[in-house]
C-alpha cells in the first residue's frame, strides 16, 4: 500500500458526442420541421455524430499536501478534469484512485436559496458540500465571523448585498475540512478584499493543515503565488506536470515558443553581409540566465553579434512585446561610444539594462535588431527570439504595495506620489 499519493490518475479520458448537424439547426419551429423532414430521408444511415475527446490519456499522481495549479487555455479540459475528479461526471476511459475525503468548490454559493435565512443557508449549503451537522455546528461561529454577517443571520439571503452573499458562500466552503479541496475560479467573484481573504484562507488551509488543493485559475500570478506543483493541459492532453515554475514556464512557452537564451549555429545566424546575430540572452545583475526576473530588479538584455565588414557605422535596437502582443516599448542605443565609430571586423557584445520597476508582471517577448540611423536602414532584425517572465514576489516593495490581485497595464513603474492637505 503506497499511501503518499492522494490522487492517482491513469489513462483518463472523457468523450463527448457532438451532433454534426448542429450547424444546420434552425432557430425557428418551421426550420426545425423542415430539417426533421430532410433528416427522415437519412434514416438508416449512420447517425451523424462526431466524437470529441475533452480529455484523452491523462495520467498523473498528486502527493499529499501539494497545492496543484491546473493551467491551460480555454477548452484545454481543465474543468472537465475537475468535474471527473469531484465525481460529478464519469470518465469514458481510465481510472482514478483518491485517498481521502474530497470536496469540490466549482461554484461559490451552490444550493443557496434566496428565501431562506443566512443561518438556514449555512446548514443547507454545508450539508450539500458534505459536512455533517456536527461539523457545521462546530464551525458555525467561524463561518459567520468570516462572512461578517452576524446581524443579518436571520434575514433571507435574497435581501443580502452581493458582497455579503459571496462572503457567506465562500465562508461555508472555506471551512470545510476535506483532505482534498478542488477550487475552480471561485476568486472571479467578489471584491479585492474578499479575494485576498479567500487566498489567505486557502494558503492557511494548505500550509498549516497540510491539505491538498487543486486550483484552476486563468491568472498565472495567482497560481504562481498559491501553488507549488502544476499540471498543464493542452487540447485534452497532459502537456507538462511538475513544479509550478516549470509548468507556468511551459505554458508561457506554448504561447511564445522561446526561452531566455538563444544562440545560432555558424551558418544559421540571422542577419545580412554586415552583421550576423550569434546569441541573445536575458539575465539579471549577477549575469544569471533565468526564466523569471524580479519586477523590482534591473533586467539585462545582451546580444552577441559578428561584424563581417570593416568601417560600418550602426547602432543596436530592442523591441519589447507582452503576451497580448502589445508593443511595450522600443529602445535603441544612443549612448555607447561604439555606435558612432566605424567598426572593425570581429565579435561584439552589447548589453542594455531595463530598469527595475518598469515592466508589468507577465511574459515579455524581445525583438533584436541592428540599424543604421542615417539613412535609416535595418541591417538585421530577428523577431521574438527570446522571452522571459517578470514576477512580483509580493514583498510589498514593488508598485503593487500590498495589493495582490489583478493589476492590468503594460508597464508598472513605481511612481512618486504627493498628497497635501489643502484645508
Amino acid at each position: 500500500m503506497n499511501n503518499d499519493f492522494v490522487i492517482k490518475v491513469e489513462g483518463l479520458g472523457k468523450k463527448y458526442l457532438l451532433n454534426a448537424n448542429l450547424q444546420e439547426r434552425s432557430d425557428t419551429l418551421y426550420g426545425n420541421v423542415i430539417n426533421n423532414i430532410k433528416n427522415l430521408k437519412n434514416i438508416g444511415n449512420k447517425k451523424q455524430t462526431e466524437e470529441f475527446w475533452a480529455l484523452n490519456n491523462v495520467s498523473f499522481n498528486i502527493q499529499r499536501g501539494d497545492r496543484v495549479g491546473i493551467i491551460g487555455r480555454n477548452g484545454a479540459g481543465k474543468s472537465t478534469l475537475l468535474k471527473i475528479l469531484s465525481q460529478i461526471t464519469p470518465p469514458t476511459k481510465g481510472r482514478i484512485e483518491i485517498n481521502g475525503r474530497i470536496a469540490s468548490l466549482l461554484e461559490v454559493g451552490t444550493g443557496f436559496h434566496g428565501d431562506l435565512s443566512g443561518r438556514e443557508n449555512i446548514y443547507l449549503n454545508g450539508s450539500i458540500l458534505g459536512m455533517s451537522k456536527h461539523e457545521i455546528d462546530k464551525r458555525f461561529d467561524e463561518i459567520v465571523d468570516f462572512a461578517e454577517i452576524e446581524q443579518f443571520l436571520d434575514t433571507p439571503v435574497k435581501r443580502y448585498s452581493s458582497g455579503m452573499y459571496v462572503r457567506l458562500a465562500f465562508g461555508v466552503a472555506a471551512h470545510l475540512s476535506p483532505d482534498i479541496l478542488i477550487v475552480d475560479e471561485v476568486l472571479a467573484v467578489g471584491d479585492s478584499t474578499f479575494q485576498k481573504k479567500c487566498l489567505g484562507k486557502m494558503e492557511q488551509v494548505s500550509e498549516t493543515e497540510g491539505r491538498t488543493i487543486l486550483f484552476v485559475s486563468h491568472s498565472i500570478e495567482t497560481v504562481l503565488r498559491l501553488c507549488n506543483k502544476g499540471l498543464l493541459l493542452e487540447k485534452g492532453q497532459l502537456k507538462t506536470a511538475g513544479s509550478i515554475n516549470e509548468v507556468t514556464r511551459s505554458y508561457l512557452d506554448t504561447k511564445s515558443g522561446v526561452s531566455s537564451f538563444k544562440s545560432w549555429e555558424k551558418d544559421e545566424r540571422p542577419g545580412n553581409d554586415i552583421t550576423k546575430l550569434i546569441s541573445v540572452k536575458i539575465h539579471n545583475e549577477k549575469d544569471e540566465v533565468n526564466e523569471e526576473y524580479d519586477i523590482v530588479k534591473p533586467i539585462g538584455v545582451t546580444m552577441e553579434y559578428e561584424v563581417l565588414k570593416d568601417g560600418e557605422v550602426f547602432t543596436h535596437s530592442y523591441n519589447f512585446y507582452n503576451e497580448n502582443g502589445i508593443n511595450i516599448f522600443n529602445t535603441h542605443d544612443t549612448v555607447s561610444e561604439e555606435r558612432t565609430k566605424p567598426r572593425k571586423k570581429g565579435v561584439y557584445s552589447t548589453t542594455m539594462w531595463i530598469p527595475g520597476n518598469l515592466l508589468a508582471e507577465g511574459a515579455v517577448l524581445v525583438n533584436v535588431a541592428t540599424i543604421k540611423i542615417e539613412p535609416f536602414t535595418i541591417l538585421m532584425h530577428e523577431k521574438e527570439c527570446v522571452s522571459f517572465t517578470v514576477i512580483d514576489y509580493m514583498r510589498g516593495d514593488s508598485a503593487r504595495g500590498n495589493y495582490i490581485l489583478g493589476f492590468p497595464g503594460a508597464v508598472r513603474p513605481l511612481c512618486q506620489w504627493d498628497t497635501k492637505y489643502k484645508g
Binding site: 470518465p91 428565501d115 446548514y123
Partner: protein, 304 residues
C-alpha cells in the same frame, strides 16, 4: 401563528433543529474512492443513511420555501384538498344517489387525499432532478437524495390534509375497524407508486422536457380511471369483463381500495385477485423506475 405551526411541523417531521445539537462526527465520503469508466452505483440504504443530513436539509428547504411569502401560508395544504373534496364529493353523492350520503362523502374524501399524495409525489419527483440540476452539476452526492427529499415534503402536506379526513370521519359517525393499523402500509404503497413512476419520468425529463407537459395530463386522466370519485365497484359493474383486468393494471387501484378497506372495512376490495394484480404492478413500476434511474444517473450532468 402559521409561522409557528410551520416551525413545529418541520421539527416534528424532520426531527432536528437548525440550532446546534451535539452529535457524532461523521465523514461523508470514504477515505478511499475509486472512479473508473465502468463503475456504477445502485440503490443503497447505507448511502442514503450516510447522507440523511442532506436529505433532511433539502426537504426542509423545499418545505419552508413552498409557503414563504404566501399570505395563507401552510393553510394552502388544507384549502386545496378541501376544495377538491367538496367538489368531487358533491358530484359523487349526486350521481350515486346513495342513501348514506355522509359515508359516500368520507369515502370520496379518503380517496382524493390519497390520490393527491400520489399525484404530488409523481409530479414533484419527476421534476426534482432537473429542478436541482444546479446542485448536482456542481457538487457530488447520491442523486437519489433529491427525489427522496421531495417525498418528505409531499408527506408533510399529506399529514396536514389528513386533519380534514379525521374531522369528516368523526362528523359522519364512522366506527373504527381493526384494519386501521394497516392504513400506513397503503400510504406507503401510494408513495412508492408515485416514486417509481416519478423516477422513470425524472430520468426521461433530463433529456426530454416534454415530461413537464405529459405528467399533469397523466395525473388528470389517471384520476378518472382510478377509484377516486367512484368506487371500484361502480367502475367494474359498468365495464365489460375483459376490461376488468385492464382497469386493475392501474397501481393506484390497489392502494386506494386497500386504504378504504382499512378505514371503512367491508367490501372495499372488489376482488382479491384484482387487488393482487394491482399490487404487483406497483412493485413492477417501482423496480423499473429505480433501475432506469440508476442506469442513467451517472451521466445526468452530460445531458442536462
Amino acid at each position: 401563528m402559521y409561522r409557528e405551526f410551520l416551525y413545529f411541523t418541520s421539527i416534528f417531521v424532520f426531527h432536528g433543529k437548525f440550532c446546534p445539537k451535539p452529535g457524532k462526527v461523521k465523514f461523508l465520503s470514504e477515505t478511499k474512492i475509486i472512479i473508473d469508466a465502468n463503475s456504477s452505483s445502485f440503490f443503497s440504504l447505507k448511502e442514503i443513511v450516510r447522507y440523511k443530513n442532506l436529505l433532511n436539509n433539502l426537504a426542509r428547504r423545499d418545505f419552508l420555501v413552498r409557503y414563504k411569502q404566501a399570505f395563507a401560508g401552510i393553510m394552502w395544504a388544507l384549502i386545496k384538498p378541501l376544495i377538491n373534496i367538496l367538489v368531487f364529493g358533491y358530484i359523487s353523492v349526486k350521481i350515486n344517489g346513495s342513501a348514506d350520503a355522509a359515508t359516500n362523502f368520507v369515502d370520496v374524501a379518503s380517496a382524493i387525499l390519497l390520490w393527491q399524495l400520489f399525484s404530488s409525489v409523481f409530479n414533484d419527483v419527476s421534476n426534482s432532478i432537473i429542478g436541482n440540476a444546479n446542485l448536482f452539476s456542481k457538487v457530488f452526492f447520491p442523486k437519489i437524495i433529491i427525489p427522496l427529499s421531495t417525498i418528505l415534503v409531499c408527506l408533510v402536506d399529506f399529514f396536514i390534509s389528513l386533519i380534514i379526513l379525521v374531522v369528516l370521519f368523526i362528523l359522519s359517525g364512522q366506527s373504527l375497524h381493526w384494519q386501521i393499523v394497516l392504513a400506513p402500509l397503503f400510504i406507503l404503497l401510494t408513495i412508492l407508486n408515485g416514486f417509481g413512476i416519478g423516477l422513470y419520468f425524472a430520468t426521461i425529463n433530463v433529456k426530454y422536457r416534454d415530461v413537464k407537459f405529459i405528467v399533469p395530463v397523466m395525473v388528470q386522466f389517471g384520476m378518472y380511471v382510478s377509484p377516486v370519485i367512484f368506487s371500484t365497484h361502480y367502475y367494474l359493474e359498468r365495464l365489460p369483463q375483459w376490461a376488468h383486468w385492464i382497469f386493475c393494471l392501474n397501481p393506484m387501484v390497489g392502494a386506494i381500495d386497500g386504504f378504504k378497506y382499512c378505514l371503512f372495512g367491508g367490501d372495499a376490495i372488489y376482488n382479491s385477485s384484482y387487488f393482487i394484480v394491482s399490487l404487483c404492478v406497483s412493485f413492477l413500476f417501482l423496480i423499473i423506475g429505480i433501475k432506469y434511474f440508476y442506469k442513467f444517473e451517472r451521466n445526468f450532468v452530460d445531458y442536462i
